[in-house]
């Protein structure tokens, strides 16, 4: 039995193109059907905006227009664009409901979930909560509820967040990204060898997976 192809993904819950890229990657794998190689996916932390307050008061437009000084009309256009692309990927983004926040604790929770074998379930739950449900993903109480939704023990999740025992793991991921020259997300590392930057189309992910599987077969033959 061959070793699964490892997929390491650097992303942030607050990154709209990371959720879209996730869907594109999943579609790329699904499109391979029975030919899809066995894969193992691991999410790594990347904090896009460390200076974001946990309890930012205002909408996403407020944040980008007022906090970051971008023209409101331009922000509206950009959010409409990403909402449209998300819809094509089957995602119902709701920027009016979105609660902008700091994602550091969400990353700690993702590391806790990894230790419990439920990281993929939590990643999907957090992305959905943030971009489509307008849920807050920066506060401990909210994160504990989302952890429970993902099948994690609520008390254990709370302990993990309140103790901060996964904070070092988050920083290690961020440092690793820096060492790899990863400045933007999503960033996919396929089999520790190929780098894929951005929310690439599903076909690209399928193609690179096929290529890696073929290389492995060639190495075995």
């Amino acid at each position: 039995m061959s070793t699964p192809i490892k997929i390491d993904i650097w992303s942030d819950i607050a990154c709209p193109w990371c959720y879209i890229g996730k869907r594109h990657f999943e579609a790329g794998v699904a499109a391979l059907g029975d030919d899809a190689p066995e894969i193992e996916v691991e999410y790594h932390s990347f904090e896009l905006a460390p200076d974001t307050p946990v309890d930012f008061q205002g909408s996403e437009i407020d944040f980008l227009a007022k906090h970051k000084g971008m023209p409101a009309e331009r922000v509206q256009q950009m959010l409409q664009h990403v909402t449209g692309v998300a819809a094509n990927a089957g995602l119902d983004y709701d920027f009016d409901a979105l609660q902008h926040t700091k994602t550091l604790k969400a990353h700690e929770l993702l590391h806790f979930a990894k230790s419990e074998g439920r990281q993929l379930e939590l990643a999907e739950r957090l992305f959905r909560a943030y971009f489509t449900e307008g849920r807050h993903v920066g506060r401990v109480d909210d994160l504990v509820a989302l952890a429970a939704d993902a099948g994690l023990d609520a008390d254990a999740a709370r302990e993990a967040l309140e103790s901060g025992r996964f904070a070092a793991a988050v920083q290690a991921d961020i440092a690793q990204a820096g060492a790899y020259g990863i400045n933007g997300v999503p960033f996919f590392v396929i089999d520790g060898k190929y780098g894929v930057s951005g929310a690439q189309p599903a076909e690209v992910f399928g193609q690179v997976l096929t290529q890696v599987a073929g290389e492995r077969d060639g190495a075995v033959a």
């Binding site: 790899y180 933007g184 997300v185 690439q200």
Partner: protein
């Protein structure tokens, strides 16, 4: 993007020669992929090498 386009887009570039700017020190062989694929840095999302977009 068609499957054929994607196939040609997967032509990989070595991270040390001609890869996108963000991968200039990447130890990975960069898959060039689609030129319009968006990435996010800080509060801004954009097509590498093109104009800025936002979240």
């Amino acid at each position: 993007m068609t499957a054929a386009d994607a196939a040609s887009a997967v032509a990989a570039t070595d991270g040390s020669s001609g890869a996108p700017a963000e991968a200039s020190v990447s130890p990975f062989t960069m898959v060039t992929g689609a030129p319009g694929a968006m990435v996010c840095e800080g509060d801004v999302c954009f097509v590498p090498g093109a104009g800025a977009d936002a979240e």
